[in-house]
């Protein structure tokens, strides 16, 4: 502090010796306030508050008039408190996912917290009842600390201003509002914040009880009182709402809520919007982190997760939460909603706790459950799932043939594990290879397992596309089979099956325990033989295993035992989708670039000679994407990588 003051140009120019400076470096306040001033202050506060409430009250009203969230549980509250501490107070996600701007924002936020008492004292002083003495011991320390924050805040806000207005990252723009490439309101708010800090800091350099102090005091006051009414009109509403939004998250990742009764078909009109959806819509800060990581948006599709949320906000602003206009209408398009792969990158990135995936699935439900979604491939998919109970529309006899050929034991209640084949494991040639490899490993370990005589699709594509009728039929039928067959533990090669069985089926019953085969393999690493080579294997984190289930290290342990693990640029929580999720694998050709091609190129660019996958959908998508490439890397599931190291010689087919 001494160093700072001593080197301050102001101090040096004034020629004031450092010791005196120290004595004088305290917050200057006006001497006293006249009655007129006090009355004026009260009047201004009242006006400011009224203007604030005029808009904020409407927002609160809209949120409260929304529907109740079915399936929402406040308890257990531990995770909520932790998330609040970590994400709000520590600004962890804000900083981690965009470090420099994130840190700058964190300083601004912490400054606001630090300034709590400053501001309170400021207004108290104006009314003659100030409680913090700038000359006192506590006051000196507190105001000094606040000053440090103010400086950091001022620098940060200036930096953020430069970023927004001069660097102009595209993610901050709003494509839905042409001509709104820069947010002027953000500029105004930035200016106000800067002014707030400047007026505060300047108060250290004027004489106490001087005219300058009074002017600065009033300037500071006017800035605050102008800032307040602006908050609910802009994205700065997040100041008030986002701590609440983060605290009131749905509980899990991409938790799709149950439907609540006979009239609920999903998010069809304003009447279907719930408290959480409305709260989240009003919390959006338009940072664009969601869109930045969206695989659809990054490959030329019109889907923009930020605009989905802001579209709901726009709807609420214009029509409100009791309106009958379709949500997929003026502010959001059906086309965009159905381009989502449900990869969850958007939801994962959001620093204010918006849960995009349940909202997008909700919009899809509203279109599919009411028959509004008229899509040739979609119709075929749903009819195939109803008729053949699998997403591919293939005869169940094909699966039986595979079981016979591989001599897979049938589950009879006595084995430890039920091996779930799934649609890909049961019907896709590549998926079958993965099953065959995993079965080799289980045989080597002596694990007792069996496959169900009859499996129906878990319903994942129907669930993500919003067809609750088909999903319910499949889930209930499967749950019944599992109960009758006394299935206790399931192991599956497909993260989609794992997610759907463990989480989505809960809506209709109590599913058995289930794990992904990477978890099984990781647990048994010590008992499996390893034959490590120098080969570079690049691992692709599947969306439904990584972000959805938090499994990142287990598959990697299988790879590092076999070769040299290589990470793609976008890895772990930032893994870039293969493009198959959300039912999109079944919806035919996509517009723009193929998501699978983009990701495949990224994996190939690492120079690895093998691509390690842990999901049969990722596997099939990359296989397709690399079909026309010469010398493309081998494409192997971790089960195949593990099986390759087992003693007996096996001819594993190349990609």
């Amino acid at each position: 502090m001494n160093l700072l003051i001593a080197s301050s140009p102001l101090a040096l120019r004034a020629g004031i010796p450092s010791q005196m400076l120290l004595a004088q470096m305290q917050l200057a306040e006006p001497a006293h306030f006249s009655l007129l001033e006090k009355l004026l202050l009260i009047a201004l506060v009242v006006i400011s508050a009224a203007l604030f409430w005029k808009r904020f009250g409407i927002v609160v009203d809209k949120i409260l008039k929304s529907r109740k969230d079915p399936g929402f549980h406040l308890f257990p509250i531990g995770k909520r408190i932790w998330d609040f501490f970590w994400e709000v107070l520590c600004q962890a996600k804000v900083i981690r996912e965009r470090p420099l701007p994130g840190l700058a924002h964190a300083f601004v936020f912490w400054s606001f917290l630090a300034f709590a008492l400053v501001t309170l004292n400021h207004f108290a002083t104006g009314l003659g009842i100030g409680f913090l003495n700038p000359a006192g011991f506590f006051g000196q320390i507190y105001f000094f600390v606040a000053a440090v924050f103010a400086l950091l805040c001022a620098i940060s806000i200036a930096g953020l201003f430069i970023r927004r207005f001069f660097v102009r990252p595209i993610w901050l723009a709003r494509p839905a509002l042409p001509g709104h490439e820069v947010s002027w309101e953000s500029g105004v708010i930035a200016g106000l914040i800067f002014a707030l800090m400047a007026t505060y800091l300047a108060s250290f350099f004027v004489a106490d009880a001087s005219l300058a102090a009074r002017l600065l005091w009033w300037a500071h006051t006017l800035v605050i009182l102008s800032f307040l009414p602006l908050v609910p009109h802009t994205k700065h509403l997040h100041l008030i709402l986002s701590p609440l939004t983060i605290f009131l998250s749905r509980g899990g990742f991409s938790d799709i809520p149950p439907l609540s009764g006979d009239e609920d078909f999903g998010l069809v009109t304003g009447k279907d919007l719930t408290h959480l959806v409305s709260l989240q819509a009003y919390s959006c800060v338009e940072c664009g982190r969601c869109t930045e990581h969206c695989p659809a948006n990054n490959t030329g599709k019109i889907l923009n997760p930020k605009e989905i949320i802001l579209g709901i906000r726009g709807y609420l602003n214009e029509y409100g939460p009791t309106a009958e206009e379709l949500l997929l209408g003026k502010y959001n398009s059906q086309e965009a909603a159905f381009q989502c792969t449900t990869c969850g990158a958007c939801e994962f990135q959001c620093p204010v706790g918006i849960e995009h995936v349940p909202i997008i699935v909700g919009l899809r439900r509203g279109a599919t459950n009411t028959g509004e979604w008229d899509n040739e491939y979609g119709g075929k998919l749903f009819n195939a799932m109803e008729r053949n109970s699998n997403a591919l529309g293939l005869s169940a006899l094909e699966r039986d043939k595979f079981i016979q050929k591989q001599a897979l034991p049938i589950f009879d209640g006595t084995q430890e594990y039920c091996l779930w084949l799934g649609c890909m494991g049961g019907y896709d040639p590549k998926g079958r290879e993965i099953i065959a490899s995993f079965v080799e490993v289980m045989r080597y370990l002596g694990t007792s397992y069996g496959v169900l005589r009859k499996e129906k699709c878990t319903g994942d594509p129907a669930r993500r596309l919003g067809n609750d009728l088909v999903f319910q039929q499949l889930a209930e039928s499967n749950l019944e089979t599992m109960q009758t067959q006394k299935v206790k533990k399931i192991v599956s090669i497909c993260p989609h099956c794992v997610r759907t069985i463990q989480t989505d089926w809960k809506e209709f019953g109590a599913p058995p325990e289930i794990e992904h085969h990477s978890e099984f393999l990781a647990r048994h690493q010590a008992q499996l033989p390893h034959n490590k080579t120098e080969e570079k294997i690049v691992y692709h984190d599947p969306c439904y295993l990584g972000r959805y289930r938090n499994i990142y290290d287990e598959p990697r342990s299988v790879i590092t035992a076999a070769g040299t693990l290589v990470e793609p640029e976008r890895t772990r929580e930032r893994s870039f989708c293969c493009g198959a999720g959300g039912g999109l694998a079944f919806l035919g050709e996509e517009s723009g670039q193929r998501v699978s091609s983009v990701r495949a190129q990224e994996l190939v660019a690492t120079g690895a000679t093998t691509i390690g996958a842990a999901c049969p959908f990722c596997n099939t998508m990359f296989r397709d994407a690399l079909a026309n490439e010469e010398n493309s890397p081998r494409l192997l599931d971790i089960a195949q990588i593990a099986a390759m190291q087992l003693p007996q010689p096996d001819a594993k087919p190349q990609a």
Binding site: D262, N369, N388
Partner: protein, 262 residues
């Protein structure tokens, strides 16, 4: 337009085929059922006509209680009401031949005065492909089969019929008429949650086979099923070996005489 669509609930295509104790049908244990495929297309055609020209779509089906599920599916897709000719058990309808069943259907709809009656081309189980044609004769109505498209005209209907070998034909006929619909001509709508919920309030008139047969003219079956048997050949892959010329010759033989494609 009042359109009646006759639909049938049949064993699903993947059903495991085991002959039952009577030797006259398959064992129905663990067999799941679905709407006959070409009937689904007939229903779709009817719903599209209703959407274009207004009117009512009535679904008609003969079968045991389990057929109710398929009837509700049709109501969920948009049909307005249904008539279920309910047989007492799995064997009652087997005692009727195609003419007998068609007589029951005709009796059930005799007061309906439909403008159009649609059936699927043939059923996935018995595959006779005759019910619609027989119904036309019983009701004294004109008919056409293998229809892909229906258009309403001033005088009646203009329809597109499929012929062999990639040929097609337009036909014009007056209403009321009977048409049998070929699969694959349009994309089928899917049953929605909203549709299923609405279906709960739609009327399903249940008539028993016994009641209907009592009022219909006497129909002793003229064609009787004696037994069903599994065919000798199962679908396996035959790899044709030898030199390319030999394998080619073998394949040509197969295509000519087994597949009968050339």
């Amino acid at each position: 337009m009042k359109i009646i669509v006759a639909i049938k609930q049949v064993p699903e295509r993947d059903a495991r085929i085991r002959i039952d104790a009577s030797g006259k049908w398959i064992d129905l244990q663990d067999v799941e059922f679905a709407m006959n495929e070409s009937d689904a297309y007939a229903l779709e055609e009817a719903l599209q006509l209703k959407e274009a020209h207004g009117g009512e779509v009535v679904v008609l089906s003969a079968g045991p209680e389990r057929a109710g599920k398929t009837i509700r599916e049709a109501l969920a897709k948009g049909a307005d009401r249904a008539i279920h000719i309910q047989s007492a058990d799995e064997t009652e309808l087997a005692k009727f031949d195609a003419l007998g069943v068609a007589r029951l259907l005709a009796a059930a709809i005799k007061d309906e005065q439909a403008d159009l009656i649609l059936t699927g081309l043939q059923s996935d189980d018995l595959g006779l492909g005759q019910t619609g044609v027989i119904l036309a004769e019983l009701l004294g109505l004109p008919h056409a089969t293998l229809i892909l498209k229906i258009e309403k005209t001033e005088t009646g209907l203009k329809v597109l019929r499929e012929l062999e070998d990639g040929w097609f034909l337009h036909l014009e006929l007056p209403t009321p008429a009977v048409l049998t619909i070929q699969s694959g001509n349009s994309k089928l709508r899917y049953a929605t949650l909203m549709g299923i919920k609405k279906a709960k309030t739609k009327e399903v008139k249940v008539i028993s086979v016994a009641d209907l047969a009592a009022n219909a003219p006497d129909s002793k079956p003229v064609v009787l099923l004696d037994a069903v048997k599994l065919p000798h050949k199962q679908r396996t892959t035959q790899i044709l070996g030898g030199t390319p010329a030999e394998a080619a010759a073998a394949l040509v033989e197969k295509l000519r005489f087994e597949v009968r494609a050339i």
